[in-house]
Amino acid sequence: MTTVANPTPINVMLAGIGGQGLVMTTQLICQAAFLEGFDLKSNDVIGLSQRGGMVWGSIRFGDHIHSPNIPPGEGDYLIGLEPLETLRWQHLIKPQGRLLMNTRQVAPTRVQQEQEPYPVEAIEKMQAVRRTHQLDAVAEAMKCGNGKAANTLLVGCLSHWIPISEKSWHQAIDDTYPEKLREVNHKAWRRGRELAAAWE
């Protein structure tokens, strides 16, 4: 086997709940990476989990990508669409990686049924020891015109750190969303990018 290392790919993980539109968001990031000229691979969980279960997606892009999977500890960024799901998947992210976390909690069944607490303290500890940026992405997206653009807003945050041009991102939004949703997604993306710039 050739032992020449891949020129380091960028590994983005998405985690959320079935119904939050995660597949579309994976597609958006893939399209932007493609337009920027990168090789890429992605993965999505599709199936039973779409009904409010845990879902995740992974995107890897760089000069040449073999596997779509991000091995534990190899991820650069995690977009967590929900705090508990961010906690669940943070182990995939490098120590120096970043977690972008939407603060809106959605209780899984056992929490709803009061059989387990929502792990608030563990999430706080995660935030204390990891580079975590948190925001109410739904509220921010509502200010842009539609709460459903929350994912795109988080992608806007992500864009601050990754080497994809603004032009490619906007083209990717046009390529991914139907016409009536494009404007709000452009707006949400810009808002996310501004917020991330302010965090630095």
Binding site: G52, G53, S67, W89, H91, T109, K125, V129
Partner: protein
Amino acid sequence: MSSPQKTVMTGNQAVARGFWEAGGLVAASYPGSPTVEVLESLHQFPEVESEFSTNEKVALEVAIGASLAGVRALASMKHVGVNIAADPLMTFTQTPTRGGFVLISGDDPGMNSSQNEQDNRNFARFANMAVLVPSNSQEAKDYTRMALEISEAYHLPMMVQITSRVCHGRCLVVLGERETHRGTPFPREVPNYAMIPPNTFDKQYQMKERLEKLAEGPEMEGLMQLEETPGAATLIITSGLPHHNLKELENLNQPVSILKLGMPFPLPEKKLKALAAQYEKVIVVEELTPFIENQLKVMGIACEGKSLFPFTGELHTETIEVGLMKAGLVKQPAYQSANLKEVNLAESVASSEDAHAREGAVSEEVAGQAVQVPSRPPLFCAGCPHRPVFDILKKSKVMVNNDIGCYSMGLFPPFEASHSLISMGATLGISKGMLKANRQAGRPIPLVSVIGDGTFFHSGMPGMVNLLTGLEPEDNLTILLLDNGTTAMTGGQANAATGGRSETNTQPFVDIPQVLKAMGVADVQVVDQFRYKEASEAINKAIKTPGLSVIITTRPCALHFKIKNPIYQVDPAICIGCRTCIKTNCPPLRMKAYEGYDKLKSSIDPTMCVGCSICAQVCPVNAISRPVDRNKSGSKAGAKEAESLESTEGAGGKKTTPSHGAESLEKEENR
């Protein structure tokens, strides 16, 4: 920069594209994860006649008919769908294939969304078909196209086995032009196409010969990718996605050569023997069964495979690494979460994506302290028409045999209202067998079978007919036929019950009550399950009454038909904190600490509620109501919510509420 003929595609989209490029004309499928989107993607091509058929057997038959008629044809289904289609498949494969024929089998290593994990490469060999296994979207497209070419060249039916990761994964795909293939009309060659003895005798030899010819054919060149490394003593043979996962490993302690097999059956024996003879050791890296490994062993090639790697689940990079450590090829593991300790975080929380199947929580360590990360199993959507049905069944404590669909989730807590699930349409036969067994064993109990509209059409109808004879008057079976107007679990595909569900949909539909009546089922009731009390009375009465009863529930899928009505709120001054509503497991409901109250009270997340009213109807103290109703008539009693449905909601089924509102039934697009 990106060249114009490239695009990003999922494996499923790429299969569709490959079929289109190859000049395919007819495609059929039954929806099932992971291959649902193959046929959905084919819908975009007007040149291709594509349909979701009633079940996988019919889909396969449609593709067979098209192939016989000389055109390139595709059937796609999930792995277990091939079981349904096995009967025509096993006989069709005896015939000399005319128009190129490809069966797309969506396998699911790790069972992300399936009831079992069968490896359909075995099915291909069993059926005397060749099987191609793509490792990414580009190959999904190329292999689909190649399968059709091989099929015509060798008169051989082909399988493309594609695993869930490859189906849903994306990568860059180079696009090609569409060829034209119209074929030649079906000839009257009875000995070739009517499979009765003695016509079948020669066919056994022909099936064997065409596979042997392909194994030594020129196509093999493009399907065997050999990466030779000078000085390598070990040859790793792999196939599909594990090839890419293997290539991630950069920490092997010695050089190895890698052979990737695009076609794991049939295999070129002479070539493989000659190659293997150059190496001291051969290791096979393949998901699920030792399919390649066993063939190599039969050829007399010594190799290791399943002694190193798991026979179940996916072969991720880290799993392959563990196997290669056992084989002495890796000394320093790179993927054992080593660097996580630096930030004092988790070992592994969701190390496998099947955590939803686990009961309870997964333990994790954050900042040195053990914490619990609750699992997140899927659940009925807000406004799901199945919710009241399973709430009623749970309270009735009756024995329930379930079937396959979203209503499978009635098995999960907090409902745990059903007790068996085997396969599509099986509940009716299973209940009959249980009735007979219980009667003969002297311990009769009432039974309930739950089956949806799509599953009823798919394979429930024979079981239904079978219930019309052989039962005794004291046998007690209640069948709940949950007619939500769509094949919901797989994303809301249309089925025979979909037509007429909205004012804009005038497609013909099969009238289930009429079908049952025509079959001779005497006791058929149609109920609106959003009238909770009426539905509960009807179901419980049927459970108490001996004989065969069918209750059809009429509310359509809330997700697919995008049902949204004015929302409900909890009045904490009335709520007694009894949690009856919470136990319906509706996503917006959660116990909450209200200011000024010591006890926790129920609450409803206004962003998630769709106004189905079930929580209000189960509330024993009428603490839940709609602000819109309160504004109209002061305090509105929750128990009367059902009455308000008539005037304000339009989501009744076509059979009971012909004047339903079109706006609430407008079909969801782009799911």
